[in-house]
Each structure stands twice: as C-alpha cells, then as structure tokens.
C-alpha cells in the first residue's frame, strides 16, 4: 500500500468507527425512552412489568370515575378485563366516560396503574390506532 492508500484507509476506518459509535449511542437513547403499550387484558394475564414506564389504553368504563380533591380514579377496559387508573391532576377536556384514552405511567404491585399523563383524542371520530387495534383483537 502506498502512503496515500494508507491515509485513505485509516480515515475511512476512523469515519466508520465514529459512525458506528454515533449510531450505537442513538439506538441506546432510543431504547431507554420507548414506552410499551399494554391493554387491561395484558395486566390480567400478568404480561405487564411492574414499576416501569409504560402506556395503558382502553375505553373509560361508564360510572367508574370517582374524584377526591385533585386525584381521579377510573377504570379502563378492553371489554375483556379492566384496570384501575389513578391520576393526580387535571384531565384533558375530551376525557369522557365511554371513550378511548391512553395513559402514561406505571403499574404498581397493588394492581393500580399510576398515571402521570392522560391523553384523550381531539376529534370525536378519531381513535388512537393502538386502542382500535386492541379492541379489534380482543372483541
């Protein structure tokens, strides 16, 4: 190999290593920050890890919403099983009994899902794709 080839080979190698490290770091960051989606029936079957940030979604069961000061308790269902969700704060405008929601939070050992954030849809014809897929699967 001539000197030029040598230089080219090593600069290429350096670029490749740098690129791989960058990609590895990005994928690591991605992996650390994904939130898996579960349905109430997954809780029933024991598929849901405890104390881990996940998303939980389903339809809010009619007459299940109770309030105490700022905390709200309600039940979501996939028409097979249901899970109790506890949320501390102000619910979005479009939170309604009988409609689909997605909550971000974690499942504790007591079987209650502690939500940090509750998302409701912004358009009455719209259903978050995860929920419609779950309902289609479970029904």
């Amino acid at each position: 190999m001539s000197a030029l080839h040598y230089k080219r080979f090593f600069s290429l190698l350096a670029m490749l290593i740098g690129f791989s490290i960058a990609v590895a770091l990005i994928l690591f960051a991605l992996n650390q920050n994904i939130n898996l989606f579960y349905a109430p029936d997954d809780v029933q079957q024991g598929l849901v890890p405890f104390e881990q940030k996940i998303r939980m979604g389903g339809m809010v069961e009619p007459d299940s919403v109770t309030r105490q000061q700022l905390s709200v308790k309600f039940t979501v269902t996939d028409y097979k099983s249901s899970t109790q969700i506890l949320f501390n704060g102000i619910l979005p405008d479009l939170f309604k009994e009988g409609q689909g929601i997605v909550a971000l939070g974690s499942l504790k050992k007591d079987g209650i899902f502690y939500a940090e954030q509750v998302l409701a849809k912004h358009d009455e014809n719209y259903m978050p794709p995860e929920i419609s897929a779950t309902l289609a699967k479970k029904q």
Binding site: L25, I26, I34, Q69, I90, D93, H122
Partner: protein, 641 residues
Amino acid sequence: MIWIPELGHLALIFSLYLSLFSCGLALAKNQLGLALAWKLVRSNIIGQAFFGILSFGVLLLAFAQDDFSVAYVAHNSTTELALIYKLCALWGGHEGSMLLWYLILCLWSLWFIVKAKASSVFNLNTAGVLALLGAGFSLFILKTSNPFTRLLPNIPINGADLNPLLQDPGFILHPPILYLGYVGFALPFAMALAYLLAPDNIQVLAQKMQSPVRWAWSFLTLGITLGSWWAYYELGWGGWWFWDPVENASLMPWLGGTALLHSVRAASKRAQFGNWLLFLALFCFSMSMLGTFLVRSGILTSVHAFAADPGRGRFILIFITLTVGAAFLLYGLRYQAMPWQLRLFSKEGLLVTLNTLLVVCVAIVLLGTLYPMFADAWFNQQLSVGPPYFNKVLIPIFLLLMMLMSFAPYIRWSQDSWQRFKRPLIYIGGSSVIFGGVSRWLLPWQLDALALFGLLVAAILILVTLYSLVKGLKKFFYGQRRFDTLAMHCGHLGISVLAVGIILTSALSVEKDVLLKPGEATVINGTTFKLEGLESTWGPNFEGVKANFSVQRANKAMIQLFPEKRFYMPREMPITETAIYANIFMDYYIALGEPVADNQWSVKICLKPFVRWLWLGGLMIALGGLIAALGTRWPTTQVIN
C-alpha cells in the same frame, strides 16, 4: 344554484387533465419543438391553476352559503359559526386541507411559470415535474378524498360544527402559511429533477433555486412558529412543543430546508456544492411528502390525526415511493464526483459540517417518529418514543451548531488559519469561563450545568451577531445593500433568542394544579392568584363559565385574568380557553380544569419565564428568511440548453 358544487368537482377534474397534458407536452418536446411545447405548457399550467382556484373558490362558497348538502360542509360547519370560521372550516378536515395543499401547489407552479419567461429544456422539465406532482395530488383528492361529495336526498338541517379547538384566530393563519412552506419545496425538487434530466451549469441552477427556497423556508418557519404559539394557548397544557409525530413532520423539512438554504448560496459560488444542492432539494420535498403521509394516513398516534381511511395512506405511500424513488434513482445514476480539496477550517468545510449535522438531525427525528410503526410491523409490539429521546440526542447537536454559528459566518472561503481567530477565541473562552464561574452570584436563578452552558453559547452568539449586525446595518444605509448578510445575522440572532427562550422556560417554568373556591387564593413564587368569582358566559354555539382571577405580583400592578371553560353544543365538546398575561420576561397562565365539588374548580396555573422569546426568536428567523427572499432577484441567465 343547485349545481355549483358539481362545478367545483368538474373544475378539479379539468385541472387534473390539464396537468396530465402538461406532463405529456414536456415529454413530447422534441416532436413539437421547444418553443411550441413551452408555449402550450405555459397556457396549460395557467389553466390548471385557474381550475384549481375555481374549485377551491366553489368549496369556499359552499361553506359561506351553508350548503349542507355537501357532506364535507355538513361535517365541518354550522349556521351559527362566524363567517371567517365558516370560510376557514374549509381546511378544518382532511378533504379540504388536501384541496388547500393542491391550491398552493397550483399557485407555486403559476409563480414559476410567470418568473421563468423564456423557453428552455430546463424550464419545460421543471414545469413538467410540477405538473406531475399536481396530477398526483389532484388524483388523490378525486379518488380518495373528494370534498364535493353530496349528502342526498337527506340533507341535514344543520352541520356538525367545526371542531371547537379550531375556532380560533391561530387556525386562520397557521395552516395556509405552513402549507406555503411545505409545498413550496416542490419547486426546488422539480428544478433539481429537471437539472438531473439535462445537466448543465450547476451554479446557474443554484441561483434559480435561491428565490423559491428562501420564500418556502421563511413560510415554513413562520408556520411552525405560529403553530407552536397556538398550541401553547389553545390546548391548555402550557407546552409549546410535544415531539408529536405531526410536529416532527414539519420539523424534518425545516431542518433539511435549513441545510438547503445554506447550500443554495454556497453552490451559487462554488460548483462543488452541486451534489449537496441536488441531494438536499430532493430530500426536502421528500420529507414534506412523508409528512403528508404521516398526517393523512393516521397510522401514528397524534393530536393532529384525522379519522383514518387506509386507502388514503396507501395511495400517498405508493405516490411517494414512485416519485421519490425515481428522483433518487436518477440522482444516483447522474451522480458525478467533483474534484474537491476540502479543508475543514474553511467556509466550505463548515458548510459541509452544517449540512451533515442537519441531515443527521433529520435522521434522528425520522427514526424516533417512524420507530413505533416499524416496531408494530416487525415485532408486533406497540410502543411510543418519549420526548426524552429527542431532547437527549438533539440538544448536543444543536449546541454544537450554535457554536459553529458564532464564527462560521466570518471564516474565509477555501482556507483560513486558526491564527486569525486566536485572539477573539481566547477573549471569548476566557470571559466564558469567568462568567460561568461567577454566574451563581450574577444570575438570579439556579440553573444546572447544561442549561448554563447552553445559555453561555447563546449569549456568545447574541453578542457576536449583534456586533456584526450593527456593522452590517451601518454599511447597509451607506449604500452597500447586502441583503444576504443582513438576513443571515437576523436569522442567527433569532436562533440565539429562541435558544435562550427554550433553555430558560424549560429550566424555570412552574406549574401547579390547585383546587379553588371563589374567594380562595394560592401563592406561587411570591405571586398570589385569587379566584374572585365565577359567572356564566355564552356565544352563538357555546355556553360556559368564566372565572375572574386577580393576580398580585410583588411590587407590581394587579392583573385581572378571565379563563373560561366552554361547552360547544353541536359537538358536545368542552374546551378550555386559557387566560394569559404576557410580557417579555414572564407569562402568567391560567387554565380552568373542571368543577370538582360544589363551586370548587380545579385550576392549572403556570408561571412561564421567557416563553415569549421562543416565538420572538421564530419570528426573527422567519424575518431573516424574508429579507433574503426580498433581496433575491430571479437570475436572467438561463440554464443554457
């Protein structure tokens, strides 16, 4: 007249045929002769735009006249709506926004035809590609999302109302301006393809692209800024960016567009940037189309998503695959490596670094946005990517870009020496270290190391840019009219103001959910928020509750704020109307939650320092783009062949 909506439908069909005809003419230029083909394509595109505008106008008329026999009008409007919202309701749903998209594509095509007067292969090919895109999108509207479909014979007496979230001044401006930007990138895309079909002088191509790229990029910047501001006060969460897939869909063309904006100027001076120019021009509009696909197909969870119809997603996906695939295939086939002695420490070197970093940013956002889709398809796993991913990965790159911005504008072409920058670098570095050390006592806030570092980087950029801006302005008024320099400084200053806003508002915002009865008060950071009383309020299509808050700040005048909770009858939808007292250093933000017990309400109260700097920065960036666009003249030289 009863047949008016059919006229709109028919006009859209004519528009489609004319655009198809233009494509045919562009292909048959050798048989027809260049001059004749160009003449015909010109009149064709004028016709296409005329019928596009007519079709849009007809739908607008249907909204103005409450023609509920048209299904789309019935689903998105009511008789009670104010006229301006009736008209804007046109882009309140899927079908109408696609028609708006098509209208804007027609207008940009018309603009090109007016600007490019003489016949040339390049002009003809560009017009042909624009017409092809027009044909694709009008066919999409006619095939999957026709806004002129009728509801017969059972015509509803009243419509279902525009989504109350959209009944807001932000909705009048945000979509059209955003689309002007999004769709505007079709022009550089078409020009790049036309050039690849018949390559010639790349520097002339760059000069031609300058004007449309600058306009489109400015509109996109303005559109995103408006959208962020609107979401902040309308959604009632107090956030200004959510890393929502649809927001990402607008950020990706913006990041790519920023690289394109810089490369267009670079390529007009140095032919070696030609490959970057072509790549970015194709890339940008591909991102625009991908964004359309993400929004319209509804495959990703998003606040913007509409009720989904799989047929629509499929159509756009096939259309994107064909156009983008063909474009990049051509790029690959025609790729010509150019001899280039590239040195890192030169203007060229830093511009290449900028392009690379911005493309990497797009890739990062794209990965985070599409990953849920891939995970679902391949691993059958439903998941979402949280905002921390985007923040963690992108913030270091943005900081690096800001550091580059502080000296890249002053570096020389071809080759520069570190020696020239030694002195200022020592001064800046030294004072930064000192400032960082004493900041604990200088700044009134407690900031973590990252925020402090970001603030320093932004402060350096502000100082350096202000210095050059003042110098540039002086020259400007003494007759050296260099719009580009002025525009660049304005834009870079905007970036630094935006950065200060992001850093401080993220670090210092306070949010609190409280329960209040009339007469009760809560204290946050020395500011007392007292609920004085509640009264009922109403409008043509809503009724609600209006709260009266008095906000008492330390040693300052008292503020009255009136947040509302409205209930829109036609859609049975509750909507929070936030009340905000804004000044340049602090926002006082109140959003009503819901009545919890007798006369007791849950209330979200936020203190948001420096949040206005975000949109001020965004506006300055857009202003920079507009100055550059206004200072650009359409080159008279032709791409020769």
